[in-house]
Symmetry: C2
Subunit: 230 residues, 2 copies
C-alpha cells in the first residue's frame, strides 16, 4: 500500500525536520560554535549516533542550516520589495537593504553563519548557490527595472576594469551596461559591510542612531549604482 511505503519515508522527513528545528533553536540561542550534535540528539530524546543516519556530519547539518538561512533572508528581501509597491527604484533598493538589515538584527547568529567567517578556506557547497544568490538577483532586478524604465546614471570605468566589467555583465545581466554591473556588485558587498559592522559591534560607541545612519548609507549606495529618487 502507499501508506506502508510511506511509513519510513514520512518518519524520515519528520525526524529530519525536527533535527533541523532543534539545531536552528540552538544556533539562534548560542551561535554556530556551540551547536552540538549530542545536545540536539539529547533534546530530541535520541542517542547521538542515530543522528548520523540523517546528517553524515556536523558540517552537513550546518550546511543545511546555511541554506535555510539564505532562503529566509532572501524571502525577507523579496517580501520587502513586494510590499514597498511601485515606487522609484532608489526606494525599492533602500527597502531591500533595510530588509536585509532587519533580518540580520533579528537573526544575528544565522547572519553570522552565512556572512560571518565561513572558514576562509572553505568554499560553499554547490547546493547553497541558488539560495545564496536570491538577494543579489533581487538587487539586479531592481537595477534592471530602473534601467529599462528611467535609465540609470552612468559614470565611465577606468580602462583597467573594462574587460572585467564586461565579463561580469555578460555573466550577471547582459542587458545592463558593464559599469552599472560593476557598481552594483560593489554596492552589494558594501551593504554587507554596513550590516556586519553594526551586528558585530564595530559601530559600538561610534554610531548611535543606527536606523538613520543605515538608511542614509543605503540611499548613498543606491546613488552609487545610478539609481534615482523621484
Amino acid at each position: 500500500m502507499s501508506t506502508t511505503r510511506g511509513v519510513r519515508a514520512r518518519a524520515r522527513v519528520e525526524v529530519t525536520a525536527a533535527i533541523k528545528d532543534e539545531a536552528r533553536r540552538q544556533l539562534a540561542a548560542d551561535g554556530a560554535a556551540k551547536l552540538s550534535l549530542r545536545a540536539v540528539a539529547r533534546e530530541l530524546g535520541m542517542v547521538s549516533s542515530a543522528l548520523y543516519r540523517y546528517f553524515p556530519s556536523r558540517d552537513d547539518l550546518l550546511t543545511a542550516l546555511i541554506i535555510d538561512a539564505y532562503d529566509s533572508l532572501g524571502e525577507a528581501a523579496e517580501v520587502a520589495d513586494d510590499r514597498v509597491g511601485d515606487v522609484a527604484p532608489g526606494q525599492r533598493w533602500v527597502a531591500v537593504c533595510e530588509a536585509v538589515r532587519d533580518w540580520a538584527l533579528a537573526h544575528p547568529h544565522e547572519y553570522a553563519l552565512i556572512y560571518g567567517s565561513p572558514v576562509p578556506g572553505y568554499s560553499a557547497p554547490e547546493a547553497t548557490i541558488p539560495s545564496a544568490s536570491r538577494v543579489g538577483l533581487l538587487l539586479i532586478g531592481i537595477v534592471r527595472d530602473a534601467y529599462q524604465q528611467r535609465g540609470v546614471a552612468r559614470t565611465p570605468l577606468p580602462a583597467e576594469l573594462e574587460p572585467e566589467a564586461q565579463r561580469m555583465a555578460a555573466d550577471l545581466a547582459p542587458d545592463l551596461p558593464p559599469e552599472v554591473i560593476a557598481a552594483m556588485v560593489a554596492a552589494w558587498a558594501q551593504l554587507y559591510g554596513l550590516v556586519g559592522f553594526e551586528l558585530f559591534g564595530q559601530f559600538n560607541n561610534v554610531v548611535m542612531d543606527r536606523e538613520a545612519f543605515f538608511r542614509h548609507a543605503a540611499a548613498q549606495l543606491a546613488h552609487g549604482v545610478g539609481l534615482v529618487f523621484p
Copy 2:
C-alpha cells in the same frame, strides 16, 4: 640582584611569547575554531594545565591574538600610507584600502578573527579598542588633511541624520564637517564589506579580476567621502 629577580620574569615573558607565537601559527594554519590549548601546549612541550598560568582561558588567549592582529593590520595600513608619499588624498585613501586588503589576503584567519563573526553577543574587551581603532584613525587623518589642504566635496545630509552626524563628528573629529564624517564612517564599513566578500568566497565565480575591481571600488569610496584625485 637584578638578574635573580629577572629569572622568573624573563622566563614568563618568553613563555608567554612562545605560547602566542605557537597559537598564532595554529590560527594561521587552521583557523580560530581549531585553535586548541592542548595542541599549543603539546607543541611547546608543556602540559596543558601549565598554560593556564599564562592565559586564564582559551578566550583570553584569543583576545591577545585579536589585539596583535589589529595592531598588525593597523601597522600595515600606516606603513602603506607612509610609503605612498605626498600624493593626493584620494590616492592615499586607495593605498590604505589596498593595504587592508593585502593584509587580509595574507592573514585570512586573523582577519576572520577580528572582522568575521566575533560571536554576536560578545563585546570586545576594552583592551582591544585602541588597536582596533588604528585603521579608522588613519582614514580620518587622511580626510582631515584633505579637508585642510584642498577641501572636500560636501553633499548635504537628510534632516533625520543631522543630529547623529553632529554627534559623530564631535566624537571623532570636531574639526571636520558632520556630513563628511558620516560618509567616512559608512565608507569605512563598506571597505570591510568588499574585503570580507572577497575573502569569504562571496565573489567566487562573480568577480575574477579582484585587484582591478577592488582598486576601482576603493576609489569610488574615496569619491563618496569627498576626496579628490589630482
